[in-house]
């Protein structure tokens, strides 16, 4: 067994290959095999269209984009690209997959699985799931995206156990490689500019009074 695999990563590993590939099922490969070999040669590639990304390691893992398919599957290389070996799950996604929805799906899973002992995981997963939903709906702005990133980092750093510490991983990795998919869905124009907003009532301001410091008086409509 030591003869198989890569230096420092001896032996084989069983993966559960699933998603948008021709041949799904359990595969056993020597460690250090490239992701491309597993997905394209053994899996037979995506039945219709391009492979877009591969999610490894289950709900706590990360998404590896198609550009990095030549990454050898060993513990260090996967960590370097922001994912993990984890449970050995390997979900292939093609161009029809919405990466924000992928992140939302995994966050929903972690939210359901949270035991509720520590605050960051119990509340953080709910809050991150809400933010992801809002980004999908198109009602979130850049500030929500910023808040999501902050929460991801905070939950990862402060959670008590592995579930909370890794729950933001799919979101972090999709943000890292598919940030444009998030940004495309943000609210188009956060603050309507200029005149012509019917819900705003123009209040004349008396510049002279304002200069005198009587600002409440200055704002009174005349």
């Amino acid at each position: 067994l030591q003869a198989l695999g890569a230096p420092g990563n001896a032996g084989t590993k069983v993966f559960c290959l699933t998603g948008k590939v021709l041949n799904t099922g359990l595969v056993e490969v020597p460690l250090g095999t490239s992701l491309r070999k597993i997905v394209e040669d053994i899996g037979g590639g995506a039945p219709d269209g391009q492979i877009k990304a591969v999610q490894t390691g289950g709900p706590s893992g990360g998404c590896i984009p198609a550009e990095l398919l030549d990454t050898p599957v060993d513990y260090e290389s996967l960590a370097k690209v922001g994912s993990i070996m984890g449970s050995g799950g390997m979900i292939v996604m093609d161009s029809s997959t919405n990466m924000v929805d992928v992140a939302r799906y995994f966050m929903e899973f972690c939210k359901e699985e949270s035991c509720g002992k520590c605050i960051p995981c119990r509340v953080g997963t709910v809050q991150m799931h809400r933010l992801l939903l809002r980004i999908l709906e198109g009602t979130a702005g850049p500030e929500e995206l910023q808040r999501l990133e902050k929460l991801c980092e905070m939950v990862r750093r402060t959670s008590l156990c592995g579930l909370g510490q890794t729950a933001p991983n799919p979101t972090i990795s999709t943000l890292r490689y598919f940030r444009h998919e998030y940004e495309e869905r943000l609210r188009p124009d956060p603050v309507p500019q200029g005149p012509g907003r019917p819900d705003l009532i123009p209040i004349p301001i008396n510049e002279q009074r304002l200069a005198g410091g009587v600002w409440m008086e200055a704002a009174k409509p005349r």
């Binding site: 509720g116 929460l151 905070m154 402060t158």
Partner: protein, 260 residues
Amino acid sequence: MRLLKNVEGAGFQLAQKGARQPMTVLTLTIDGRLISAPEGATILQAAREAGMFIPTMCYLDGLSAHGGCRLCLVEIERDFRLQPACFVKVSEGMVVHTDTPELREYRRILIEMLFAEGNHICSVCVANGSCELQNAAMAVGMDHESLDYQYPNCDVDISHERFGIDHNRCILCTRCVRACDELEGAHTLDIADRGTDAKVVIDMSQPWGESQTCTSCGKCFMACPTGAIFRKRSTVAEMDHGHAKLDYLFNAREKQQWNI
């Protein structure tokens, strides 16, 4: 020897086995200050003994540590993870940082999370002014809520003759559960369900008034940091949890120390 004596008399909660033997004193650095602490003390105990402040929520003197609130997380040099000060024991030459900008921000978000999760409306709460959640919010400088309020649908149980529990105000610190189990020995209270659904239940999730195990001792009320468990027929001005009574009980029982 004199130093050892002082430390021994300082009221550390240590395992009683061999308490009469002289303790080993360790030195460590917390926030740039060199302090000494007996072997077996936690970072939190060492820091408090030295008069340093580390915010806590689920920790209470007299009860076992829980480690769920994550407020006392500290940075230990040469440790890539943040560690809860209420659990980690001091070691020789340890260098601890308790107040970095990163920690300060995380603590603020943690408190914001608690406010977002429950229905905390201070103006109509009996614990207003004597609430640890309120104090923590001020201590961490939370001036607004940046998260979505979750508005959970919680119930209030006032079926007990002397006490009531309002789940809207519960932060799931489990201090009441530990007080009931460890100090009273009744274990009437516990946590049911998980994640957002987790809640404190009485016996097999039945009305408090019908509980066969509750001794009506009020230790859960003494342990509660917020207004979740309250004494009935008492006003905001009369609200005094008396948290220190639990520590007194613990010291009297476990260490035969009867002074307050």
